[in-house]
Subunit: 249 residues, 2 copies
């Protein structure tokens, strides 16, 4: 069984695409998402189409390698599972995935060696019902019911994005520190102790019953901040300067 | 504390947008994702801009309600947490969220009554570092490192899509049955028993040591299919017709 690492991304099949610009936009979105196999069924304006190349930005390779088929049946002949994208219910008894659900399902199939495909319809009309009946399942991207209309480049982007992120390990949030070291608790303590000593010297913390709470509040301002070593040093410099012990930096 | 139901969606702040078409595309993507508060900082071609309206499709209301600011400081003045979108590392010590991580964080903040904002940069250049330093955090959408370039309408769409789906309850997959009832196990059993009886009569299952396995295989073809009542009835009709017991339907 092939491993996840060699899972082949789904191919993208555009059924009856009209404007070359839209085909180029689809190629560009595919490249954003690690997809590369573009198939065109009966493109209205013939193929190749210079408008597609012009719009493809960094994805000219995908446009140039695109394959053309006369029928959808021929375009999907070598695939074992296909998902038809639709913006609305189509009165066909078939599983309907969200884009995220598709990505989970498709990753599992691709890891198992299956060749899978995504069907996108023509501008305005979408996929015909006869085309949807050729697919194994449907995908409807959940969007604001007040406006679910997407052009095909955007539809390819959202579905492709879910495919890409399902295989992406970027953590939900990290502190970008550009190589800077996070400060240790001891380094932060040294800074806070210096600050508190300074404040005590100038009687900022003179009211005993409020002192402990004030120190805790001041500590929390800095403690929750994920400070780097450089930033602690910057703060030391600022305090020295304010106290007349250092020059401008 | 306000409930999730009244969580205010983030506003979208475009810094130095150039082409009106791109502003319109952003408004359209916002509408797809349930966002409505569009703010423009120093739009190059002035405001209002007919090209934005023309591109906005179903989102003219967002374009018409957009507010214009001279500076980013003024545009974010009433917000308490802001996310700057960037395609690449920016050498600033700040949390970096994925688009999905942003959505979790922002939903929590919005549910807590915070007013939040999303910053998007100008075409080609993106956000300036001085603009990023005004934001609380950054968002970098994980994409294929081979092509991370998005136009601003696409960037608004991906980030907005994560905001929308974080509050969306659509199940990952359902069977679209258009009101049709799923068949009960008993209804499926009746059909399979009829089929097996027919096959036995014609000695299709005549080899005893293979019979049990063949029945199991045939059962699995239909059992895993999530058949509806109508589909079972259709299958009964087909079998009757093949046996010469029924007319065309």
């Amino acid at each position: 069984m092939p491993s996840e690492a060699v899972a082949k991304p789904p191919c993208v099949i555009l059924c009856g695409p009209q404007m070359g610009e839209n085909i180029g936009a689809c190629a560009r979105a595919m490249k954003n998402c690690g997809l590369s196999d573009l198939r065109l069924v009966d493109p209205r304006d013939g193929w190749p189409n210079p408008a597609a190349n012009a719009m493809a930005a960094h994805a000219e390779d995908i446009v140039e390698a695109a394959t053309v088929f006369e029928t959808l049946e021929a375009a999907v002949a070598d695939l074992s599972y296909t998902y038809a994208t639709t913006a609305r219910s189509r009165d066909q008894v078939k599983p309907v995935f969200t884009a995220r659900g598709f990505a989970q399902d498709a990753r599992a199939r691709a890891s198992d060696g299956q060749k899978i495909g995504l069907l996108f319809g023509r501008e305005r009309e979408g996929l015909w019902n006869s085309e949807i009946s050729l697919a194994s399942a449907m995908i409807t991207v959940p969007l604001n019911p007040g406006n679910t209309s997407l052009n095909i480049g955007q539809a390819v982007l959202l579905v492709g994005y879910e495919w890409w992120t399902a295989g992406d390990l970027t953590p939900d949030v990290v502190l970008e520190a550009s190589g800077a070291q996070p400060a240790s608790h001891q380094m932060l303590d040294n800074f806070l102790n210096r600050l508190i000593t300074d404040l005590d010297e100038r009687s900022f913390l003179a009211i005993p019953e409020k002192r402990e709470r004030m120190i805790r509040n001041v500590r929390n301002i800095f403690q929750r901040n994920d400070l780097t070593e450089n930033e602690i040093n910057t703060l030391h410099g600022i305090f020295s300067f304010l106290k007349g012990q250092g020059g401008p930096r």
